[in-house]
Symmetry: C2
């Protein structure tokens, strides 16, 4: 018979015991994750302000429709702006506060796309008129690129901006239904102004391709949509994602804007309608690259949320076999569970650190571009494409793996992972569809490979450094044995070899590629780069105390091992791993090494998620509550469900009652006929 | 310059041209999918009735909250019952109509779980009193098994049913918060009666483990919840899935029910409280097995929906490179697209046919059990576990792959795949968590393996027939070369070998398994079984005309090839595939064969999805409309979005206006300070 225990008390005890088992110092790890104590202190300062705001309460979120969600998001935005001024937060602090808040807001693209275009491409005249309004949010901006019929292939956008020399205006026009701007964040209901990407048509009719133009969309008096413009919201999203954002559409019917509204820092149309070429079109690079760089960090913190929920819940959830105390086993102690979850934990850590390295690299790139140095630009561009694909693909997959590890309760909205997933999901298609980006990664690698073949002394950037391995045939391929998996450097080396050989193989068969090559190859290339980055992270751990460095090192090692495990097919097909004459399964050593590494990390699993330092308010998950009392929290939240606010059944009188009555009548007739 | 075309007209033309390219006869394929012309005619008859009902209109579905969705579902249910009587539909026809309707309804579990328990385990007395009410839906039933704290491990359920001999009653009781029944479909608001799984406690206090009891939950007068019972809805689901179903919770406070309410066809409690053992507990098997069997079919039709949308949209969506006419290429013509989509199409076809074979096999099993023949019961049970895992895992993954192939528009709720996904998602955890079921598959296989080792002459059932291969060491392992992939039988044989060797390898290392073994091994075992089933399907194609048999044969061949491709790691690690001395990539031949097969299928892709015969009403997807005019349909649906019903912005006055004004004030102050 089952021992008579109070499972609620047991969950709290399980959580306490798990914390007690941790060997690491949480503050050390936390400061590492936050890149320094002072960032953490800022975090605490900001969160203490945010949590006190009743507007920022999350308890009603799952029950409201889009209109209410939008209204709530606007109110939050306003309050956030007030708080910023009240507390004198810097731009960075406000960004950090927004990230802590973790709400979908309709104004995100103002900061992420609208403002940067002004900084990067606004002419002095445009800046003089608008910059104050942009930066102080006296206007709300959006960025109109994608059209109903055109996404990836920007060259085929249909919207036109025809220059009229007689009035010195551009005429913005949507010539067809499919030219309707679509998916534009903040456009549907919020934005007063938009940066419109449109084909510049010169007076003679010459199409100069896409350029950017500032168009006022709504009146600053009463927010009504201006004449000639049709604007609306594009409707609900898959899985109810991004409900509070007004992704919108817009059509322009010969809308006139002044000549200076063209973003013309680098290319210009003169008063009489001549086109002045950009000094160097590479200057206008950067906007989307910057967003992709930030996506690495945000993927890391999104995974951090998901994995905190999953590790906490599987720590207190007991199910199945009995342990020594006659209790069912904690779900996380099953190998099939921790083998799914701890690699996700490792990816959260890696992506957070990788994001830091990436934005740093991007900043220094921007500096160099500012000085007119464009070396490695194409390569870094391709690398950011690859990173964007890698982190977004992994994050979507991992969130669902984490959700599934919660068992049945993972399907409850109160578990919290469903919303993370639905809101994160578009990351695999926005800022460049992942499948298209893979092609860019492959093309860039092939180019590097060829230029290396024609000039063996060419200096390789860090993004194609792996190609050195096939430069010199004398370099021997690594021999894989049990010791390989114990040594992070050996795994990194192996992953570089895989990428190098895969590119070489592709170059040889480029005329008859198989249908999955772009995805496979882009992955191999990006994983080699990330592996070398992880190598640097491991080297950087020497700054930490030995114990904490060891545990995070184990996590990074796990990242490399599971990357290699996922690459088994490549390793085999490229001949880096072979089935020996001894008939022993050559995958077994790595698989057992992964299991051993996970077992070793397990006592610190809760500690490593605690170090992300999500408050219950920030995490907003019934299954991820800090104290482990998950069932009480589920019970509490269920009471808020609108269907439970009355005992009655909606539709009872008109549908259920007559149906039941009819059924009973027929049953009784049938009975009496017997 | 881009040619001046009307993209809307182009989409229609592209769709028409694609249809014209099909070589297959659609009616032949359709009749094959529907298992005969007469089923198809019934389908048409039913759909013609359903489509005319204004209640069954779907255009508002994406905009309503749960309360409204529930109310709508009840109204639909009532109307469906009326239509059934009006048109004299049989039970099978009603089930088919419900499937065509494809709506989440709160009454599903009445048919799927409540009624079958009556049939299978109701005593004659219980049947006499309730059967008419059950079958004519004079009462609405639910099935209460899962508890807040317990899912998989039924033995640990906490709810008790204590027998009181003095009054000849059972007392149903929930002793703790975690014993609260949870996730019960139809319980929250709809059900009047429930079958409660509870531990039977005899007067002496002996715990006889879980048994089933009928408990009335709500008054038949006014639907109010009966005394001692607390009932409610458990709240929203991940991704807004299953919104219209009232999955509920229930707690029982010493609720008394008459002795006859125990389902006692096989086990009984006498008036004075003695327990009469079940004749053969295997008789009570079957309920969950039946549901799992039907899940194969429903997975097939769910995939059919998703892939119809994806193939139609990628046929009319043009993007990227220019084709011979100066138009951008149809997205489906990119290898990276069709390589993702056509294997999904093959799985839809395989699962539909496999579901038919499975339910047939299950029916004959039931017959045999009825006659007291229990051979292969355990094996078929394990096999159904494996099938359930295989189809639900593949379907969730494929739906997301199909959604992603739609590019950015795939994230719109109007695309339709998001809802399919959210509603289907729980299939990976309900009716047995997939990770737990994998363990059962592995245990059963190991048992078969061992009993074969101890008795080499043991007759193997079809589910473990692959084990014959390691019975006789003299049988040579297959040699894989290019010809292997051209021959479906060779691939089936290879997949059987893979399963046989994997089980053998597992048996050898069972004391030190790696952490992913259950998932990997269960997959190998189930895929071997399914492969042999596909072999039978291919054999059965001889009944079709040669051309159609050839095309569906290609699809089945594709299924086998991509199964083998996904199994590369196993094939390598078990030594079935090897990197030869010639240094040629041994995966290349299969990959090119897959590409060639896909190219060959491509002209029939739209035809093969048209054969599923979804009307636009049934498919309910803007991107999957039959005529290809996707952009017009997106535009039409967007106009229905509640946010677009007024030009105004919700929250403008209270939030946005003051925020913008404040921003402008600050901007103007800053300017005047300059």
């Amino acid at each position: 018979m089952a021992p008579n225990i109070d499972i609620n008390a047991q969950t709290a005890t399980d959580m306490k015991n798990s914390r007690a088992r941790a060997s690491i110092d949480l503050q050390t790890i936390r400061d590492y994750l936050f890149a320094g104590r002072s960032n953490w202190e800022t975090h605490v300062k900001l969160e203490n302000v945010l949590r006190k705001e009743s507007l920022f309460d999350k308890s009603n979120k799952e029950f409201i429709g889009r209109v209410e969600a939008y209204r709530r998001a606007l109110a939050i935005t306003r309050r956030l702006t007030e708080l910023q001024r009240l507390h004198g937060w810097t731009k960075e602090e406000t960004a950090q506060a927004t990230s802590i808040l973790s709400e979908v807001l309709p104004v995100t693209l103002h900061d992420l796309a609208f403002e940067p275009v002004f900084v990067g491409q606004g002419s002095p005249a445009l800046m003089a008129e608008y910059w104050g309004l942009v930066t102080h949010k006296g206007i709300q901006g959006c960025y109109l690129q994608t059209e109903l019929g055109h996404g990836t292939n920007v060259v085929r956008l249909e919207t036109t901006a025809r220059y009229l020399p007689e009035t010195q205006e551009f005429e913005i026009h949507s010539p067809s239904l499919t030219s309707t701007k679509w998916w534009i964040g903040g456009l549907g209901k919020t934005a007063t102004h938009g940066i419109v990407q449109a084909k510049l048509i010169l007076p003679g009719g010459t199409d100069m391709g896409p350029h950017l133009f500032l168009v006022q969309l709504r009146s600053l008096e009463d927010h009504s949509v201006l004449p000639g413009i049709t604007v609306g919201d594009i409707g609900p999203k898959a899985g109810g994602g991004m409900a509070a954002t007004d992704n919108g559409f817009a059509r322009f019917d010969h809308v006139k804007i002044p000549r200076k509204n063209m973003f013309s820092k680098f290319a210009e149309v003169t008063e009489d309608g001549r086109y002045i070429k950009p000094v160097n079109p590479k200057h206008s690079f950067g906007g989307m690259m910057y967003i992709r760089a930030t996506m690495v960090t945000s993927a890391g913190w999104t995974l951090a949320r998901g994995i905190t929920i999953a590790i906490r819940y599987t720590t207190v959830r007991r199910q199945g076999e009995l342990d020594a105390n006659g209790l069912e086993r904690q779900v996380i102690t099953y190998p099939s569970t921790y083998y799914r979850l701890l690699p996700i934990l490792s990816r959260a850590y890696v992506f957070i650190e990788l994001g830091r390295q990436t934005t740093k690299a991007f900043s220094s790139l921007k500096e160099r571009i500012g000085k007119g140095e464009f070396d490695y630009l194409a390569e870094i561009h391709a690398s950011l494409c690859g990173l964007k694909v890698l982190v977004s693909t992994a994050t979507v997959k991992d969130l669902e793996t984490a959700r599934r590890a919660l068992g049945g309760h993972g399907y409850s909205a109160f578990a919290g992972i469903g919303r993370l997933y639905a809101d994160y999901l578009p990351a695999v298609t926005y800022e460049g569809d992942n499948f298209v980006l893979d092609g860019q990664v492959v093309r860039a690698a092939l180019k590097s490979y060829k230029s290396l073949a024609s000039d063996p002394n060419r200096r390789l950037g860090s993004h194609s450094y792996y190609l050195r391995l096939q430069k010199d045939d004398a370099i021997k391929r690594p021999v894989v044995d049990a010791s390989t998996w114990k040594d992070p450097r050996a795994i990194i080396h192996l992953l570089e070899w895989r990428a190098a050989l895969a590119v070489k193989d592709f170059a040889r068969t480029v005329d008859e590629p198989d249908a999955g090559i772009n995805q496979r190859l882009a992955r191999a290339i990006t994983e080699a780069f990330v592996a070398t980055q992880v190598g640097e992270m491991i080297a950087g751990l020497s700054k930490l105390p030995q114990l904490e460095a060891g545990v995070i090192g184990d996590l990074y090692h796990l990242y490399l091992m599971t990357t290699a495990e996922e690459a088994f097919v490549d390793l085999f097909s490229l001949g880096l791993l072979r089935h020996g004459a001894d008939e022993v399964d050559p995958t077994r050593e790595l698989r057992l090494a992964i299991k051993a590494n996970c077992s070793q990390l397990l006592p610190n699993a809760v500690g490593l998620t605690d170090s992300f330092s999500f408050s219950d308010w920030a995490l907003d998950s019934a299954l991820g509550v800090f104290d482990g009392r998950v069932y009480e929290e589920l019970w509490r939240r269920v009471q808020l469900e609108p269907l439970n606010q009355t005992e009655g059944t909606p539709g009872y009188e008109e549908s259920l009652k007559p149906m039941l009555q009819q059924g009973r009548m027929i049953a009784s007739q049938a009975k009496s006929r017997l």
